[in-house]
Every structure is written in C-alpha cells, then in structure tokens.
Point group: D2
Chain length 361, copies 4
C-alpha cells in the first residue's frame, strides 16, 4: 500500500529518522531532460525551516537520483531517488517510546503491526511527503511541455478565508508570501494569525485550493476511474488531510440545478461551457476547463501543551511535545498538493493513451 498510481506508479519508502527516505517512479516518459534547478526549487518549497512559520528542523532535502537517468535524460526505466535524513534529532523522540501521542498514528501502528519505529513518527511522519514532491516535480516538468500547469495556494487558515475565487487571483503571487496566499491582505492576516497560534503553543488548519489548467478533454474514466475520485484519493492520502471537494463542492449546496448547470456554447467552433461549476469534469472525464478543488487540513496534532494520554502498556500518563513542528502545515502542504495532483494528472494522461476511439479503431 506504499504505491500510488496505475500506469505511472510512485512507490515510496523511509521513516522520519531512518537513514534515508526515497521513492521509485515507474512508467515515466523517456527522453525528458531533467531540469535540476526546478527540482531543487520544488524541494525548497516543501522544506522545513524555510520561514518563521515552519518547523526548525533543518534538512537539505537534496534528491539523489540513482537510476533511470542517462546523460541527463529519463530513459523510461524506473527513476529511483533517495534523500538523506540529516537533522534527525531522535533524542527529542526518546520520550515517545513510552507514550501514544494524541491524534497521531502511534497507537494504530502499534496495534496493527505489533511494533513501531517511534522516532519522529517513523513511517507515519509527513517527512515521507518530500518524496512525493520530488516525484511530482518530474511530472510537472513533463506536463508543462504538454501545456498543463498546476498551481495551489492557501485559501483558508482557521477562520481566515481568502475572499476571492481563484479566477480573480494571480496565482503566481502565492509564492511571494510565507503563507502562500496570493491575496496580499489575506496573506498578512493569515501570517499574523499563525504567529499568534504558534506563540500559544497551538496549531491551526485550513484549506488549500489548487487548479489544473490546460488539460485536454478526455482524462479520467467512467464509474471507478473518475478523474476527481483519483484526486480525492490522492489528497486524502496526505497527512492531516480531512476533506476534499471540487467544482461547486460543499459551499454551493444551497444552490439549485438551474443555477449550477454549465450551459454549452461554441467559441471558435469549439464546444465549451459558459460557466465551470462542474470543476472541469463531467461524468468523471475532463471537459477541457480548469479542474479546481479544495483540500482541508486539520491542525497539526503536535502541540506544545500538556495532553492526557496512555502508555503502550496501558497506563495513563501525560504528554507534552518537545520536537520541532509546524504551527500550521498549510504553507508547506501547497507543493505536496500540487505534486499529488501532478501524479494523478500524468497517470491519467498516460492512461488516456490506452483508450482507442471509434475513429481510430
């Protein structure tokens, strides 16, 4: 269950405080010239320690590609890469050996496997997501060549909601604030709010909105292969994610069919829709419009306050976290959401090649 995808498959491995984390990306197109700077920049966007709002853990997150590249190009064989864990202060986690942290996976992993690597959460740590960002960067590079672009931003932090829809924002501006919200005023509010939450030793969640632009008509498949079902599975697979919606989603439930249907019309002899409440997907298949969706994240479970808990032996105890953690995971989660969206998109782009149309048969 550590593999994601159908014909493009990412398999990841590694624990928070093991020697390395890494992954194998199989089914990737041949001949892509690797843009090393792009990869580095993507890793930088997820990296801990990038601002006062994020954990102080310090990792280079240098990606070492050990197979599938030849003379700088992908060869169509599996791309494997490893990332060294450098700043793993396992000492911080010795205390974790004897306590189940509330709302963490310590208890469930122990019950499921009868053994757990307690250091930094082991396999359940969000450290694993660095691997996804690396794989996603490769997918983005390929998709860009096909005119497909993916961009995410923080649209809500706690009670603070970005007031404009994505269509009225300049998404590239998200990178200009440490909270990755492209609406400058909201970004400042979010930043102040997270600082306050941090000073309280507490944590806060929110939403990320992401958009996939330039998609061809025809990605996704009927019934169980719907494009948005793949996105949902991808997003709910990210640590701390609690929800997903796309298009009209949860926020338009008060609106009627007559308000939400997307009428068809023609522009330059192409069939297009006048609105995009459908979120770019009809019947599970992309219709050429932007695919946009939201991802909800709960507050990080590690708070700097005393909490009630239980030891693995079943004794009541209390627990106060010592490690380094983010007060709000949202800003660093943006590249993770984008990476998972890129994996889904390229997987379905490749899958769509297997569909032979009437005119081709």
């Amino acid at each position: 269950m550590n593999t994601f995808g159908n014909v493009l498959r990412l398999t990841t491995f590694g624990e928070s405080h093991g020697s390395h984390i890494g992954g194998v990306l199989d089914g990737f197109p041949a001949g892509l010239l690797l843009d090393v700077d792009f990869l580095k920049n993507e890793m930088q966007r997820r990296k801990p320690g990038q601002s006062a709002l994020t954990t102080e853990r310090n990792e280079d997150d240098e990606v070492q590609i050990i197979s599938g590249l030849f003379e700088g190009r992908t060869t169509g064989t599996p791309l494997a890469f490893i990332i060294k864990n450098k700043d793993a202060n396992s000492g911080d986690y010795d205390a974790l050996k004897n306590v189940y942290r509330p709302s963490h996976a310590d208890f469930t992993y122990t019950e499921k496997y009868g053994i757990r690597d307690h250091r930094g959460g082991g396999r359940s740590s969000a450290r694993e997501t660095a691997v996804r960002v690396a794989a996603g960067a490769l997918c983005k590079l390929f998709l860009q060549q096909k005119g497909i672009h993916i961009a995410g931003y923080v649209s809500q932090v706690g009670p603070i909601v970005c007031p404009l829809p994505y269509t009225e924002l300049s998404l590239s501006e998200a990178e200009q604030s440490p909270v990755r919200c492209p609406h400058a005023e909201t970004a400042r509010e979010m930043e102040a709010y997270i600082s306050q939450i941090k000073s309280e030793g507490d944590t806060i969640g929110g939403t990320i909105t992401a958009v996939i632009q330039g998609l061809p008509v025809g990605l996704g498949a009927p019934v169980y292969g719907k494009f948005h079902a793949a996105l949902a599975s991808a997003m709910l697979g990210i640590n701390a994610c609690k929800g997903f919606d796309y298009g009209s989603g949860f926020d338009s439930l008060h609106r009627k069919g007559s308000e939400l249907n997307d009428a068809f019309t023609t522009v330059n002899q192409s069939t297009v829709t006048k609105t995009n409440h459908s979120g770019g997907i009809q019947g599970g298949i992309t219709n050429g419009n932007d695919v946009y969706f939201r991802v909800a994240f709960k507050p990080v479970a590690t708070i700097k306050r005393e909490q009630q808990s239980v030891t693995p032996e079943g004794e009541k105890t209390t627990f106060t976290a010592q490690g380094r953690h983010d007060p709000c995971v949202l800003p660093r989660a943006v590249p993770i959401v984008e990476a998972m969206a890129a994996l889904v998109t390229l997987d379905h782009w490749l899958l769509a090649q297997t569909v032979i149309k009437h005119s081709e048969a």
Copy 2:
C-alpha cells in the same frame, strides 16, 4: 476502470437502457448464507419510484445471482449477478441523440470514445449504482456477522441542515421518512423543500452523513492505503458527488489543535480516546472508534427547464429534458453511500488479514 477494490473487487457493467446491468464480486468470503430478503430490501431502498420525491421510472430491480452460490451459500468463487432493465423508455431519449445535456457526461464520453450510447446516459447513468447496492448488501451481511454496522442518512438538503450530530440521533429512524433524515422535524422541512423544488422543475443537492460502527483497530494502511482515502475514492466515484470529508472535516477548520486532538485514556484496560474528532482513523488506520464522514452531492443536472446547449455537430441549440428524474438524489443515494462504504470496509478487513504482526511472525 470499471473495477473497484483490492482483494475484494467489484466489476460492474451495463448501460441505462441496455438489456441488463450487473456485476461480478470477486474475493468474497465463502460460506455466507444469503439472506434474500435483506438483499431485496436494500434494492428497494435505492429503487426508483419509491415515493413522490423520486423519479417515476419503474424497475423491479430484481437481482439474479448467476454464479458463486451453491445451496444458498457463497462458495468463494465470483458472485455474478444481473438486473434486467424493464422500464427503459428509450423513446424519451431520442432527442438526446442530437444534443449534449448541460452538466451531463454526453460531451465528455463522445469526445473520449468517439461514440456514445445516448439512451438514458448509457454507461454514465446512475442506474449503474443499483449494482453497487446489490454488492454492498452482500458485504453488509458478512460485516454484520463480525459486528460491523454501516448506516447513512440525509444530513442536508439545499440550505436545510440537520441540527444535531449523528451521535445525538437515532439513525434507524432515517428509514421512517421519505427523505431518510432521522430528525423528524428536519425531515419534514426537507420533504417540503424538495416538493417545492420539484414543482419548479428544478433540482437540489445536499449531504449524506454515514457512520461505520464496530470496526476493529487496524483497518487501513500507511501512506497510500489510508482507510479514509479509500472511502473518499469510493464516494467521489458516485454520480453527482462533489465532496467528502471525515471526522472534523471542513466544518471545524476554525478550531485549534488543542480543541481537536483526541486525548487517550483507558476504559476497562482498553486504550480509547475521550473524543472522536479524528473520525475513527489515525494515520490512515482505524482506531476502534466510529468512522463517520460526509458526502456532498450536487443537484441532479436534469432539470425541466430550457437550457442552452450544443449539438454533437457543434451547432448551438436549446434543450428541455423530458425523461423521468429525481428532484433530489439524496434519499436514494443513502443506500449507495452505505454500499460503497461496505465494499471499502470488507476489502480492508480482508486486506488486514494479510498483515502479519510482530507477535505472529
């Protein structure tokens, strides 16, 4: 892409107006005595024509099991079943040949495959979900023997929201109202609202809340095999579904970590949590609490009003639906949500058998 599941796999087939729909359920336990009445009752719950709130299409939805049963018991080999399409008024749909219905899959299917069965939406019709309910009924029967119960209800219709959480409702009362909301007063409001929407020739969406009770600790897997990611994929695979959240979800984004963490304690020497904001899952793995989640549905796209559209040849046209459709899909979607939850649960229950714990190795 017409197969769902890992070691328990449902493959479905059939179009809205073909001769049959049906499915193959592979990997199902041997030895289950089929409770025919239970199966019939589940089909009845999804069936069209069950109340004034639903489409008038009249189908028996009699499930004919043609393999995998011997002397009334399952044999461990594939269970195949077919359901005859009886009341398929394809005449109603002749007009659909020459128009893409707004917010339906007519356009995307045609573009993807170069051909479409326009009668009643063909494969994209929600008629396929009858097959899921049949398969889900079998799963429920097995899960009940293991003490696992799944119940869903309509928690929102348009602007009308059930005011109480599921923990304060008697879920079995949902079946007593045609809208399947267990809160009597809200149910009456919803019913009246849907009637009004219907009289306007319009449609409305809402949410279903579902609960899985009696789950053992340990279902689900790290990283890409998270129990809630499988649920999300299952739910987003249902027609008209636009969103999914579980546990604290979208509605608790204003709350902090200190408010949402589930403290551990012990009861009768078992490790339990004091609250269940996590929705019964930590790190992707069930912790023994109730798993609860919400599913958002958009309004049915078929409305009895003139809409702008385009023909397959790219000519602008208008379209007014003639067929029989639900003003609100929510009441009939309850058994579908439950069925998909049952498939996910049994699949992961079986998958969990493959995990060898430390003490067993």
Copy 3:
C-alpha cells in the same frame, strides 16, 4: 483472482453446472464493428461435441452480449456477455459429492473454501474457457485490423510429434483435421491414436504450438512486464496446462550461444535478424519477428477406469467416472490458447501506448 490483464482486463464467472457462465471485458477499444459470424465460429471451434474425438456434452455456446455494444459497435465501456449452460447433466455428478476425483481440484477447493460446488467441477471446470474464447475473439478482430494474426495448432499428441517447424507448415490447414494439426499425415496418426486411447477409456496429452505474426517492435516491458512472462502466465492459467516455452525453448538446450544467437542485418533499411531463435522477443520486448511458443497439456484427469480415492469425510473409496469427457483436450484447446494469446497481445499493445519515447517527450 478471476481477472486477467492490465489495461485490458477480462473478469470471468460461472460454474460448469450453474445457470450461466460469462465475463466482462474492460478497456476494450471503442468503435469496433462486431463480426458476429467470426465470434460464432470461434465458439464453434472450442465447443464440445464437434467431433468423435471430443466430449458429447452438447452446448450451443451462444454468446449474449449484454453491455458495451451500441448499434453493433463497441463503445469503450465494459463488454459483458453471458452463455447459458444448457446440457448440464448434473445427475451424472451426484456421485461426485462423496468422492475426490484423482488429479482434479475437488480436494483443494474443498480445503481452501470449506465448501464446493461438486457438480461438474464447479468453477474449476474447463467450461470457464468458453468465456475466454469469446473475449479472445473480440481481441482477434481488433488485432486483425492492426495486421496482427494469431494461429495455433496441435504439434504433439502423446508420442506423436509433428515433424516440421511452424515455418514449414501452412497453419490454416490445421482447421481441416479434427485434431487441428496442419500436417496431414501426422494429423491422421494423431486421430487414430486418440481413438485408440478413447477406446481404452484413457486420456492423453500433448502440445500446442502458437504463432503471433505482424507484431510491432516494442510490446512488453523490462523486468516483470516481459511479453513472454505474460504469455506464460496466460497459458499456465489454462486447465491441464503443465508447461510453456518459447523460441529455442526446452528443445534446444544442447545448442550453444554461437548457434542460437540471432545476428542482426538490414533489409530495405530496416534492422532485422537473420534467424529467430529468440522467438521474436529480446529483453522481454517484441522485436518485430514472429512470436512462437509451445504449451504442454497433461492428459485429462477423468478416465473411465476405476481409481482409488477418498471421500470428503476421509474414508477410502474407489471412483469410476461417468460424465462426458474428452480423451484428448488438445484439439479443443487450440482456440483457448489463441484466445489467451490475443488477450495478452492486445493488453500489451494498449500498454505500449502509455510509453512515451524520447522523440515524443
């Protein structure tokens, strides 16, 4: 485990003496005009009762396609088909309830599932292969349009071996003899031999040789996706199959590398090989030559002689078969081998569409 294939997937169901057998073929190209006569003819080739050499069970084997076809063409959605079991003399099998037939699956199914449908072998019966022939017929029709042709013939029956390699035979002549051997003199010997074996109440095995012609370069994948590994899995999945080899195979083990290597040369500016000991595959990937392989079948286990056995309760007993069975399964297995080869070929042909070459990236 009742599904075969990657992006083209066949799921089958049904027992020997149930009401129907059938299958679902998912991922099939859209737009293929179904040639009903071709399908019927393929079914006829596998059908019981076609000559004095085969079982007298009499089945029409009429294939009823119940989804995925519209106005005679495939639509890209799942093709489901059912075949009624008509001449199922379950009475013949009542005796089987209380005995494990030697070298049949009665014992292993009972032990694995704790229950078995004893009538005619239930799910373990070769009756299931009719479904494969139906699905294979559809694949063959598509492959023929791409210039790919598959032909098999009986190359050995017991000690009688066809003396010429396939390259010196006219494969289409196989259909002119009831044993499906294209070498007329050998065919007569085989026929006489099988008649004798039948008169002894005994059974005999042999080999089928099959050839896939017209393949493009590039089907199959490195390491675990080798084209010949998929063929091997497909063939060993056929009832009574005991072995598979391709190219130089088992019979050239005495020959050296210098004798078996296929030197490259050019013809009309194309790179080709002078010989084809490789069997058309190098490194798991087709090289444009014919792919040829052999499949070994054991004698049918049902013989009309008294054999020692045991009852399900563990009592020693004897068993003499009463049902209708083939003295030699080889002639009827030819279309099954071809069908499985067609499924593998089209699956890999579709998979190859997902591989993006350097020049396309």
Copy 4:
C-alpha cells in the same frame, strides 16, 4: 512494470552501470528478526566471480537496508535496500554505444524508448537479479519459520542431464559443486563441459529444477490466480529464461491419464496422494505435496566471437564482445530461481489469509 506481486510487492530499480541497484519490498510481515548472515550468504551464492565458471566482474553485493527495519526487526512498512555498483568497467562497453549486440535487448529498448543506457546493458542486465535475491532471502527467512523450504539445483547443462529425479537426490549437496548439481558425477561432467565451452569463447544453457517443500494446502486461486501460473510468470521474468514446466511437464507427454493421475489415499487420517505427477498443485491450488518445477535457460548471448550486427544508425557492422560474462548462467541462476519462488510463495501465503472459509464465515 518493475513491480512483482499482489499483496507482497517487490519494486526494483537500477542499471548495470548506474550508481546503485535496489528494491522496495512492500507488504512484508512485521517482527521478523533479520538474519544478516543468511542474507549475505544468499548474495554470495549469486555473486559474480565466485568460481572459474563465472564472470570475473567483482562486486561485494553488500545490501544496505535503508527503511523498514527497527532494532533489527521488520516493522511492516516498506523494506528498501540499495546495492552499490563498484566494479562497473563502463569502458568495456563504450563500443556498445554503436552496435546492437545479437540476442540482447539493445535494439528493442532503443526502439521502445528512443534512448538507452548502453553501459553494460543498462536496465536489461541480469545485474538487476541481485535485488531479487536480497528480497527472496527475506522471504525465505519468514517461510522457514512456517516450515516452508525452497531448494533449487542445476539439472541440465547443454546435453548433460542429471539422471535422477529430485526425490532421489540430496538437494543440500548442490552447494558443494561450483555448478550446483547435487549429483556428484554429473556435476563433474557439467563442470568440465562448461570449461570447454568457455575455452571456445562460447556459452551454453540448461535447466534448473526447484522444489518447494512444506507448503500448506490452499495456496493459489482458481482461474487466473493459479499458483503455477504465478511461478511461470516469475520464472519467465528472469533474464535468459525460455521455458517452464511443473509436475509431469514436457517430459511425460507420452504417458496416459491412467499413468499420471495421482490416486488419493489416507495416511494418519490425512488425505494424501500416492504419487505426485501433479507437482503439488490441483486446479491451481497447492495440495500439500512438494511443488516442483523446471526452468529452461538459453545460452548467454554474449560470446567471444565475431558476430554480424547493425549499428543504431542502420549500418551493417560486426561485433566481438569484450566484457566479462558467464559461459553458463545456470549455477548463478539457482539462487535467483529460488528467490522468485520465495516471492511467489510468500505472496500467495499472504493472499491465502484473505480467503475466508465456510467454517469461518
């Protein structure tokens, strides 16, 4: 297509002359104490340079496990391991850039991907099999605890065939000869023959016979999940493999049903068979007897003689190999065959846990 298995999955990566090869083994049981010496010994058995009969390439083949182990035990999360390529004389292969080696994958990889890593065969090199041996060693350790043992030996080299069946050999003696044949006299003949072949600059193939002992009844599944079909796929996935048979196989085709059927009897109130022509499998499911099978390997394609070939640009040329290669791959392939058998066995052992029997339902 670089992943093998169902619930136990091995994903491999790496090229012959890249920096590392490695793999990820997912779904492995938790709690296994790693026996490092056993792992080293298995690697040693496959390692190049172990005798005068094998290639002189010198690799430590030290396996570095970088995830999934905690305090010496497996944790149930993915086991990832890497092996450094040390003695990769890529210089030897510069010449390969401009020629397609006969009966190698140079041509097919280039055509499929439009690019190839020509150094040492890149991904198509048998160097990848070191990863399988490492993964197989872990599986063997677990299986041994369950009383399941796997042993292989060289049963044929060119025309020299081991005269006794495995049941009359002491399999552990295979390790005492450099050719890994447990029949001392035959081993000496094989050794002399390979030396002669080597002196001629030529290569030779043969067969490996392998046996799985101690299997429970019930591994494998009907139709497409047959235990022997999985073995066949695993074996044909090994470089240079041309064939597979099991039980009576190709060599008993002259024998009749009455001679090959395995009569049932009882021993100590257990149902057993008097003979084992079935090779321990009936209807695809293990029956508790030994599973035994043969694997045919062609001669290694690299010979030290001038051969005709073609350049990637389509010019005729000649080619004489310079690199270091085995005159006969069989002795080193024994641990690879065993490893693949171990992967199949543990995968199906785990899969069998998902089957709920009548008595358990």
